[in-house]
Point group: none
Chain length 191, copies 4
């Protein structure tokens, strides 16, 4: 009968929020944002429909929550303080690390590319991902600049696009996509 302590409440809140986010992530990634109903998320999370709205104001808000939660998980990966220019070795490590991250969080990145191509939700997308993307490209541009590439900016963009393409292929084709071999070739060509 004793009421829950604040701490207990907070724990419950965090736990439930996490379940909701993870459930939503899977469904959004698999069926698309519009193809996923709040009902189905509630069901998968084992939570009532109404309770969803105690955690997120709207479906759109929930999507945002999913994305932010996902990005936070990669904070350490991206926050590489080192603004130094990459060595060839570091370049290779960065590329391989990138795909490691994707391999380890397929669902999240599926959602990422799903939204990537869905312009209507893009406002949100741009808002959340753009900064990180630009930073990414900037690092590569510096790398190619340092290598005296003829057109460092274009090459960096090309590399970024190739990374997108390979990721997308891997995520959609699944096991039939020989990711490791393709990445080897990519490093060969781009390092």
């Amino acid at each position: 009968m004793s009421p829950r302590t604040d701490k207990q409440n907070k724990e419950i809140r965090q736990k439930t929020e996490l379940i909701i986010i993870e459930s939503a992530l899977v469904l959004f990634a698999e069926d698309g944002y519009l193809g996923t109903s709040m009902q189905s998320i509630a069901k998968k999370a084992g939570v009532s429909k109404g309770n969803l709205y105690n955690y997120f104001d709207s479906k759109q808000d929930l999507l945002e929550g999913v994305l932010i939660h996902g990005l936070n998980q990669f904070a350490d990966f991206f926050d590489e303080d080192s603004f130094d220019i990459l060595s060839e070795k570091e370049f290779e490590i960065a590329i391989r690390g990138n795909f490691e991250m994707i391999r380890a969080n397929k669902t999240f990145w599926k959602l990422y590319y799903n939204l990537f191509a869905q312009p209507k939700v893009q406002g949100l997308f741009t808002k959340i991902f753009a900064p990180f993307l630009e930073q990414y490209i900037a690092i590569f541009e510096a790398y190619y600049n340092n290598k005296e590439d003829k057109n460092p900016k274009a090459t960096a963009l090309l590399l970024g696009s190739a990374l997108d393409g390979v990721s997308l292929g891997y995520l959609l084709m699944g096991k039939s996509y020989p990711l490791n071999e393709v990445v080897d070739q990519l490093i060969e060509k781009f390092k």
Copy 2:
């Protein structure tokens, strides 16, 4: 008093069908399949909602119609009878041609990549596009094979993915994506 002749009817049908398909293409590409309502297509086409169903049995059927119509436009591009192995010059022409095609039909290819990442509708996607994709990769594989590439299959896949990534980037970022320069770099690296 006299009814329309068969020829007149045929013309009307063709014209209306074309208007519907073109309207649907734009909206599907912009807002996604699920994000587009039949209502909005009808409005854009300047046609009644009901009339849509005189031309296509369902929304899904309309999408199929849009895709087939689009592909037919590229028939000459893909039907390259030459099954010979590409020379370096031909390789470059093929790549540049590919992007020319995309540049000239941005909307269609926007839809293409939109569906590409939308697994729910993918059944349809696979059905229609898979054959052509495989042929594409096969040609590149032969090319790299001929060049005694270490891993022709992986390189071909990498190239295919890079093409996807560049196309996607160009289509989504618009004018701020320096397509020509990126393609130059791509050819440099992959030829």
Copy 3:
């Protein structure tokens, strides 16, 4: 190039009208009035949708046409001039004749009972069939009156209802309904 003569036109009109009516009859009987679309009637009749409206002002009007056409076919059966009271022999003949008529025009009677139970269209039904039904009952009432039945009116109604029930059973169950035997029993009990 010579225009059709009036006579030719009339013939065409009659022939087309008949085809429409017969097609509509089958579909109305099978799928119900509401379950049948004008489109499907046009198709079955091998006629354009628009042309239907050159013959009947509306769907309801077409139904009316179907019913009237059907009833006209039985004119000779019902117009039995003899207002004399039936003998037992004549009674049996009338009953057997009734079922002969139903057996020979199953589709029409299927429609009849279909409408019978569909109150919404009943306005029409009552308008067309009520007079004939009352005459029917009157004949039987006279018959039982003559036989000094305890309650001629009720018996006549009972017989009418039994005829309805047997007809309905036969029309709906099809071959598995032993019509002849049932009718034998009916005559035995009611004569």
Copy 4:
């Protein structure tokens, strides 16, 4: 603040479901299945259109619910454990009871005969009613068999059909149909 208890929710559900079923019953019976819109049912039930679908998956499902609910009400009538052969007195009681039941639930039986004659929805009809009908006929066949009737099966069918016919007449003609007197005659003739 506190949510409804499970018991409260259950009560609400039962009450609302009942209102929906009863509203649907009346409209289906009066206007036919196809002639009744979900909208009109919602309105009559004082419920939103959408809420209908929280209780029944589809219109067809709702019809099924209506039929099952109706049949459940007669469970005690049909579950007559006595598989003994009917005496004449029992026969009379059964027949009169049958009409008592119809008189007390006119709307349901109106729907019954409405569907009876509507082949399109008949699949459902057959599924739900056929078993009970056959049992009915079987009881009468045993009765006539015991009475050394010339053709017990045909007589039982005739009786069944007569019951149908009388019921239908009573339900459709309303007060102008002298049910009691007709039933008296029926018992006289068939006992």
